[in-house]
Symmetry: T
Subunit: 146 residues, 12 copies
């Protein structure tokens, strides 16, 4: 069965606990649960990892090669600052889907540039939890060569 690695970047553990007026009341656990449900229906296995550490995300990607067929990643703040994560994705040669809860192009100027986007297969942003679900569908599509 195909396996997809889902990576949650820095501060995403605070989801649903802080600023509910902005990010809604959904927690990271609930996002993972929704993703699992979708994956089950698609006959795909998911593994989750969350880290506030750039280096841990780099390592997770570096080791993903043999175990996963695709990556869904919300790099959060590291989207705009991490060449290391970009290089890891570029090196690992797995299709990666970049997702964002919010529409990063409707926020501060520095959030309009993603260092990850040029090495990802594609990007989905602005649809809240749905960004993750659509991202997983996109990843499965990439695995199936659709």
């Amino acid at each position: 069965m195909d396996k997809v690695l889902v990576i949650h970047g820095p501060n995403l553990d605070l989801l649903g606990k802080r600023q509910p007026e902005i990010y809604g009341k959904v927690t990271l656990e609930e996002i993972n649960k929704k993703l699992k449900a979708l994956a089950k229906g698609k006959n795909v296995v998911l593994e989750f990892m969350h880290s506030n550490h750039e280096g841990e995300i780099v390592e997770a990607i570096g080791k993903a090669k043999d175990k996963f067929q695709a990556i869904v990643i919300n790099p959060a703040a590291y989207t705009h600052t991490s060449v290391a994560i970009r290089d890891a994705i570029d090196a690992v040669d797995l299709p990666a889907v970049e997702v964002h809860l919010s529409n990063i192009y409707a926020r501060e100027e520095f959030r309009h540039t993603s260092l990850i986007a040029p090495v990802a297969k594609g990007q989905i942003c602005g649809f809240g939890v749905n960004s993750y679900l659509l991202g997983l569908e996109a990843a499965i599509g990439l695995i199936e060569g659709k």
Copy 2:
């Protein structure tokens, strides 16, 4: 039944006829067919329009208010040059989903900036025909308030 307007921007009528090595062999008609199939399953009605004219796209959006619940738009070249389309989307007050066949962030520098993105609800790019299908799902999600 909910209705979604699907807008194809300039040069998209050439899809499948030119540069198949880049854009694949899928034609615009086939994309529309796939979208219709998906819509049917979701109990949504679609209307399509393609135009090479900025002004026609502006008008289509301006008139969409009373007839549609959401817009899926691939602004193509106008993504990077049309303030008029941006203003139309902003004025019409319907949720709009911006889609792109290719990963615009992996192409020429001037394609990295979208004038449309800040007024769209979200953006999906890089997944070929799948960008449209995921875009329609996102639009339906927005209508349903998910």
Copy 3:
């Protein structure tokens, strides 16, 4: 009797119908009516044209030479993107007055630059409908050599 061409750019047909909280409830028809009333008092004849098409505005300006003594133009979104309208105004050699309902210098950065302004005689912005009325007065002043 002197004749003035009044040009309304893209999306201005939506005035009064969309976003009344921003642009007020005045429609394009009502603006034209107010302009006509003012023109009548000044013994000037007006002709109106609205278009969402850059090319139609270019053509209207190109043909204005023999029929009009001045132009009042609200280029709307094309203010910031149309070299073609700029060239048309430059070529037609009629005094042109650029008007804007809103204060474009208090909005997004990309609205701070007008491609039209350097070839117009002058610019009036920020006074709502009054921008048009003052613009017509300015145009009449230019015709009368004041």
Copy 4:
């Protein structure tokens, strides 16, 4: 009766005395006279001040609150360099109309940016003396809530 403060910025005392080929032969006194005539017809009282000193203009604006209903200001050279005048207008909470004799967008690049415009209600430029007269009309319109 409503009162409007008319502020003339640096070097405007030289009007009509220097470079008549550029600025015409109208002096500052004659501009003020024309403005008074217009004001009289509109049942409005004017007060004039001219200064080459940024600080004096800041002070005039700071004290305008209780005495005036609106400001018409030609900030001249300070348009492009004075954050202090901008802050004064912002603080005083009176509608301000920015006017310029020449079309600042058809001159040197550094004159294309106005620090005042974002805090003024609107801007009128390029119509010579008429910029002031239209500016006064605009100010009266703002007072009357038109």
Copy 5:
């Protein structure tokens, strides 16, 4: 016999009628006549199109594939603003020669950048009507593989 499509961009219909002191007294009809004469001597057939509409030019290029062996295009104002025309030329896979009557590098800064040039085979500018004639010769050379 080889066929070349000659495209005249916005405002070029005003040639010879406006600003003769700048652009000379040659009209678009006379340019076309000179081009025809040259083409006849080279055993090539020409077809002309002029449009002020970006979308019409995009369409003309999109349909040129089966009928023409090369394109000579003076994109005029759209040189600097149209990604859509650029994409059309890129997609149609016909050799395109970009021509300009004036030396665009000796004019305003914004005219120094051509969005069309990177996808055209080459560019000729600054020689008035001769730019078109040399452009046609260049196009014929490209067809003949010279």
Copy 6:
């Protein structure tokens, strides 16, 4: 006893009278009173000056050398535009502490650059009246060589 010069820049005389919702209801007089109280406890004498005139502030600094041991300055709008005040501080060779009521880095982009900061000893911003009090403490610390 050590003496500190406290300089209030342009528009600060409006404090507490205008925009109380932003700057609070504290007046400049009250700020001075709080500063005096603090100074008394620290056995330091204060002198205050407020001016809307760049030149007056330049002069006050130029003459401060023999009379004061340190300067606390809120350059307000001149923070971003006055090379003259910068040069004065640089020339006078007294430790200067730059203070701001608001957090200038959370406001408009042009307020993010201070011409004064590189020649001041340090900067304190964002704490309202407390910025002044902390600034005075900092100045006393500098005098005492702490």
Copy 7:
């Protein structure tokens, strides 16, 4: 009793051991001691953390909500590169005071921009150890609503 979290960013453990000619001979331990003494006098409890890891600082901030009333942070090198720390501060909704030992505006150009400043309440820099002490006072002031 109110509690304040004091965060020391990367390389600050080297204080007093390296480059004493620049940073003086005070060690991090001594800074903490001085802070504790001040806190005691103000009836406030402090907790310290130092880390060279961006992720650890992000986590410390993320967990601070329930335990602390304010944060004093010297982000050191991460001031200029960490969107993750910025987002953490923004999310945690505690008043944060940014402090720097040196005057960052008198150093290399890249140190003039702080990613943290726009989400902190205020910034204090340039006063050596005193920056911390003033920062703690500022934090206490913010807690007390002064």
Copy 8:
């Protein structure tokens, strides 16, 4: 006899009193004395003015027309910030020579741009007091049409 106005900009009254290691020990009075001696030998009369106020310098230039044949000006800090002084020089139509004691091109980046230089006849910088003396010679040369 020809008359030349010598203008000393802000902070120049501190010359010889502050930072003698940089600017030497020559005072403004001594510079004036040297200039007078040179003028006497050249049969020219000098008038001096020093001001820290931008507005006073603007006014001095505005009134110079009828009384002087040339201006020698060291705009000091206003070199880089005053459009008002630039406009005054431009308006007054007297040959102006810009002088600087130090080599402004070997100092901070922001001192490399002079707003005055484009409207002055020429610029002399870097030679200490000699910049003034050479500037006076240059001014006399301009008067004599050399």
Copy 9:
């Protein structure tokens, strides 16, 4: 008989010997031969010069005035770096045609700016050897006042 100077800039002596896959197998000698043949048919005499030295090209242009009626120049690398060659062309007052073998606008960014173009009559690029032949035709057209 009219005479035209043909100037080949740096590295062009390597043509046909290096990188034939890019520049083809045509040598500089063969280009000159083709040009001579064309010139003969047009009753024009050519003189050729090639140099890798900026100074030699400057001198050749400086001395061209009395001997030639026009210049055809491929400045190669000096296109982007030589103000000296630009000044020479500007000074010599002969019509100059700038040619390039490759399409400089489809290469590295720094090749998109020509210091020569603004002082040349026109520019031809992208047509290989044909750029020279068309350039010679353009030069002859300029001589003949066409």
Copy 10:
């Protein structure tokens, strides 16, 4: 015996395992082996550390002072984003040699700027494994004061 610390930055553990067509088949272990062999011949002892964590590299440098005479560092992705590593090198006062396997100036624009280079003694890039070996030689040369 002199000791040199060799630091390998993020993703370098993937060497030889991923993208062999780009980086060759040499693994990090083999690089270390070659370095050891070279060191042995030079009578120098090496210690290696690899980390994907910015903070760990910062710490390794911070502790290097007493144990090593020089550092050879390939900061990889952190070259372009880590002020923290730069500050650590600056603080530790050991000669550091920056090495890169690839020629960073022939890659993406953002790789052309190294935050580390200004505080390193020198930089070696583009020679594959040889960059490390030359880097070690350079480090030994610096220790020996050559």
Copy 11:
């Protein structure tokens, strides 16, 4: 007797022969003659060199050390492009005076930046031949330590 080297940069040999309406009718020989006359009166010996070759100017400066006490240089076009001449002046450790006939700050933007100025002692521009004479005086003043 003191010796000064006078260097004329590229194209200056054309002075008085080309564009007399701009540069006047004075030839380089006449400038040299005037300089000699001035030098004689000051008891200084001059040597002249003119070159269109950057390398020759570099060499002349490199060899100037033992023979001259100062340099007067008009780098002409190389002002804006030659790091080599800048480095030569920096290395040779002789006081250099940069002169320009025209006011380079009133010409094209690219002429506003001098690579030479930061390493010259000072700059004189805009006074035609007089720039050279004043430059020689400045050089003599530098030799004499005035």
Copy 12:
């Protein structure tokens, strides 16, 4: 036996004679001697050339193809300004190693960009004479395919 061309750019003939405090007392001759000694041990023959002329360096590279297997070049000032040398290296298709005595990234901003680096195989800077020696080793490594 393999042959390497060593090129010394402008002003390097002054080494050891000027500014010994910066560049040390080693002369160009001594550098060459050290290089020869190293080459001898590696069984490689060297040829040296020094020139202050961009054109001569271009020519030396252009002719190097048949005679040399690699190039070691210190382009000195031309590093930052010569597209011609860049094009020569690109055309000649020999591995080139760029070396610099000083760390160009720790000097003026304009020295941080090398036009040569993207076409060289690699770059070595900051190690004084050792940069040359390491550069020769690198070149030999490239020849040997290491």
